[in-house]
């Protein structure tokens, strides 16, 4: 038999009318789309300023069917994956080395801080001198975008592992390596992963910047090309794809994050 207790609602008052979540979320985009379509139909805005939504959609499907969109997206994603892999691996190694050895930290930290201080885009002109404007520049810039947040979060994450846990490891007569493998690293996973996610987002941002600056392929190039041709539909289509790919990257890392730490409920 179950006893049901009705708790008085805290500060009930007159019940507020609640918007249902999904329709409310879609209301504004739908209204915007309608206004946009109406404005385009009435001819308030020239297509060079704002093309009709149908036109953007047509451009998007056309780019998709010709395979251009996929090839540009693959170029961009390839660059991000390469740069991100280099930057994240270096960042993990650097962060872990500085966290585990005060001596390494003494040697490297001031230089690292100095490098981290200049925003990604500030390095572009300097690196252009030795590297030119080819792939090497793009990969290095993207790697730098990942390096800083990954290093900082790895450093902070390993530092924040409670001393008591390490002591439990030593009480079990774990070797140094075992403590690292079974105690420190698993405990540092959440903050390290935050750094990795943040790093990937920064990489994607940096990619768009370097592709705007100099490239002959990729999604950033699609934007530049669209603007030069005064094809606003292509610019908007490019922005939609950039947002979508960014979202997919972030969502897949969020999924991986949950997989990697099954001991965390949420």
């Amino acid at each position: 038999m179950s006893v049901s207790i009705t708790l008085p609602r805290a500060a009930a008052g007159p019940r507020a009318w609640r918007l249902p979540a999904w329709p409310a979320a879609l209301l504004l985009p739908l209204l915007g789309l309608l206004a946009w379509a109406a404005a385009a139909r009435a001819g308030w805005l020239t297509p060079a300023i704002l093309p009709a939504p149908a036109e953007v959609w047509a451009t998007l499907t056309e780019l998709w069917q010709s395979g251009e969109l996929q090839s540009h997206a693959l170029w961009s994603m390839g660059r991000v994956v390469q740069g991100f892999a280099i930057g994240a691996v270096l960042g993990l190694a650097l962060g872990a080395a500085m966290a585990l050895s005060p001596r390494v930290e003494d040697y490297l930290r001031p230089s690292f801080v100095a490098i981290a201080q200049v925003p990604v885009i500030g390095w572009v002109p300097l690196l252009m001198l030795p590297l030119g404007i080819g792939e090497a520049l793009k990969i290095v810039i993207i790697a730098k975008a990942a390096l800083v947040p990954v290093t900082l979060n790895t450093l902070a994450g390993i530092r924040a592992v409670p001393r008591g846990w390490v002591e439990v490891g030593t009480a079990f007569r774990y070797s140094r390596w075992q403590v690292l493998r079974h105690v420190v690293l698993p405990a540092a996973v959440p903050p390290v992963f935050t750094g990795i996610r943040y790093g990937l987002t920064s990489c994607w941002k940096a990619l768009v910047a370097v592709e705007l600056l100099a490239s002959a392929e990729g999604l950033g190039f699609l934007l530049v090309w669209g603007r030069q041709m005064f094809q606003m539909d292509m610019v908007i289509a490019g922005m939609v794809v950039i947002a979508a790919v960014g979202l997919v990257f972030d969502a897949s890392l969020a999924l991986l994050e949950r997989r990697l730490q099954p001991w965390r409920a949420a």
Binding site: A25, P29, L108, V118, P119, I121, V224, G238, A243
Partner: protein, 249 residues
Amino acid sequence: MNARGLVLPLGLLALWQGVAAGGLADPRLLAPPGEVAATAWRVLTDPAIFLALGASLGRCLAGFVLGAGLGLCFGLLCGLSRPADRLLGPSFHALKNVAVFAWIPLIAMWFGFGEEARIIFIALATFTPMVLNSWEGIAGTPRALLEVGSVLRFGPWQSLARIRLPAALPSMMTGVQLGLMHAWLATIGAEYFLAKGTGLGGVLIEGRDTFDMALVLVGVVLLGAVGLVLSQMARLGGARLAPWKREIA
């Protein structure tokens, strides 16, 4: 400060000197350190660089004020009102996924390549972190504090002014700090992409185009220094305005 921290920079400097002196690198690409220092001195004693810096800073602040003001209003609105959260929140979170530089071609087509376009871009870059942090701050007001307010029979305005806003202030100051960093980054971006030859970004581009490595180096160092100063100012301002929360990330 530890002397060990100097080993790496000095080692690199020595390597640079060695490579330059040994003639191992194209001197156009890698001038010897002494020459770079001499050029740097010349650049730094010329008021032109500070005029450029001033132009950049003014632009950065104008965009920041616009973006942070709008962001604060938007964040507070969404944090305080559930219907606003439900109506506007999802659209905001969707648009936030557009990498900030991807807005540049759109802004260029709508507003041209003038000062207006640059300030709008900087404001846009400031808007997102400001919204996120003020929203989070106001929505995350501890329940216990709000209950104290209702025990004291605070009206909605009193509760806002005495409880919610002070509770959200540290988070808002984090937003200001992040917003300033983003604004500064966007200033340089705007000077690269939305105009040629104005401000510090213009100096960097000029240095690159003329293969003047010293000029580029001075520009990069100034860029980093200004970023550092802005972020420290925001941090100190935050600590002073909201002393009840000591650390502001």
